[in-house]
Symmetry: C2
Subunit: 252 residues, 2 copies
């Protein structure tokens, strides 16, 4: 029973990122604050949290913040990204070979992927590190130069790397999407890699939040007709819906 309480406590702290002791007291009125303190002490020993004056902070959360500070786009439309990730994760089924693009949306998706027998290839080191926490997932990283802004690898001869690698489902995130230009991104060599994935993937899932619709970036890496599934956080504009229907793309 004490074990369960600690588990719940940890869960709560990890999701909140930061808690005050008084908050926890309100949350668990059945136990004394001293017990909660001792629980925090335990969790600290396990390396899950740090205790601060008045409460505690999640270490995972702290590292994430620090990382975000460097890439400078913090969790902006985090709500939207989470919604997209929730929908997209349904297309992950055991035993598959999966490609996960770089990006904050796909990072959210990575956190939601169940710990099942999967092979996941990605071009994002941070996503790879997140995925490897799962015992049953084999993780592959494409090599290459690391882009400071996007935390994405590219420039390496990915073609050769993936010659005899099969991708069942690929999840790609687009920086922009319009009917005229298709799915676009801002980096040449990243576009190269994405195009390769588009060719290799049996099922292509595009993740786009609606703020990116009707915009264009320099490099097109896919057309609407290339994809099988389009995941968005909110309803698409009518003309986009129509185009998707025509292209036989499932919109979720």
């Amino acid at each position: 029973m004490t074990e369960g309480r600690r588990e719940a406590l940890n869960q709560y702290i990890q999701s909140k990122g930061e808690v005050r002791l008084t908050e926890l007291e309100g949350l668990m009125p059945d136990v004394s604050s001293m017990t909660l303190r001792r629980d925090l002490e335990q969790l600290e020993r396990l390396g899950e949290i740090v205790r601060t004056r008045g409460g505690a902070k999640s270490i995972a959360h702290l590292s994430m913040l620090k990382e975000a500070a460097y890439t400078q786009r913090a969790g902006e439309n985090l709500e939207a990204k989470m919604r997209i990730a929730d929908k997209a994760v349904k297309f992950v089924t055991p035993g598959r070979s999966i490609y996960l693009d770089a990006g904050t949306t796909t990072m959210c998706l990575a956190q939601k992927i169940p710990d099942e027998n999967l092979f996941i290839l990605t071009s994002a080191p941070n996503i790879a590190l997140e995925l490897i926490k799962n015992r049953n997932i084999r993780v592959g990283l494409t090599g290459g130069q690391l882009n400071r802004e996007t935390l994405s690898l590219s420039g390496h001869d990915a073609e050769g790397y993936m010659k005899d690698l099969n991708i069942d489902v690929a999840f790609l995130a687009a920086s922009a999407f319009s009917l005229s230009s298709g799915f676009t991104c801002g980096d040449h060599s990243e576009a190269d890699l994405k195009r390769l994935i588009v060719r290799k993937a049996r099922t292509l899932v595009l993740l786009v939040d609606v703020t990116k619709i009707d915009r264009g970036m320099p490099y097109t890496f896919a057309r609407l007709t290339d994809s099988q599934i389009l995941v968005t956080d909110a309803p698409l504009p009518p003309e986009y819906l129509k185009a998707a229907r025509q292209a036989k793309v499932t919109v979720v």
Copy 2:
């Protein structure tokens, strides 16, 4: 002047990982504890540290520990690793092409590398993410499968990847080192990669803490004679010193 003090303070905390306020008071007798508190407050706001009761902890350090928890062993000999890193970083000079091995010791080194014009190749995604924080460092990652225990990439055709890549200085960490077996590690394909690096590197720097001396792991990736520089945290046993002298290896 206050800026310099904060910088020094941060430096100190980052290297120690964890400090007590009384410790800082002893370190900086010229300023009051209140000033130090305010400095810590500042550093916390910058996302460098978390303040705890009685002192502060480095966030970078906390993340590292948590990461280490996922792999296998917690970063126990952190003092030793830091000492090694401090010595090793002297061999990093601007304009060079560098290889950094996976491991906690090399992770410590990565944190100390100055933000200068460098190309750094590594097989560790976590180290790559650490290095990319520097504006002037170009970071390359070898591709491949990610090893859950060591957070190291391997198994990919690294040979091809590095065909036309030159490495001026390579920093390799060994899991064990003995006169009979040389430098050894526990994973077959990682050893493969290391051997390749040994061949390619103009200058080979081996990082070994003394607790690993006189031990052996399954796979040998280098002999004492392969290396130019050996960095340790504490004096070597006499017979090892003698062997190093014979092999014309600089011991630091």
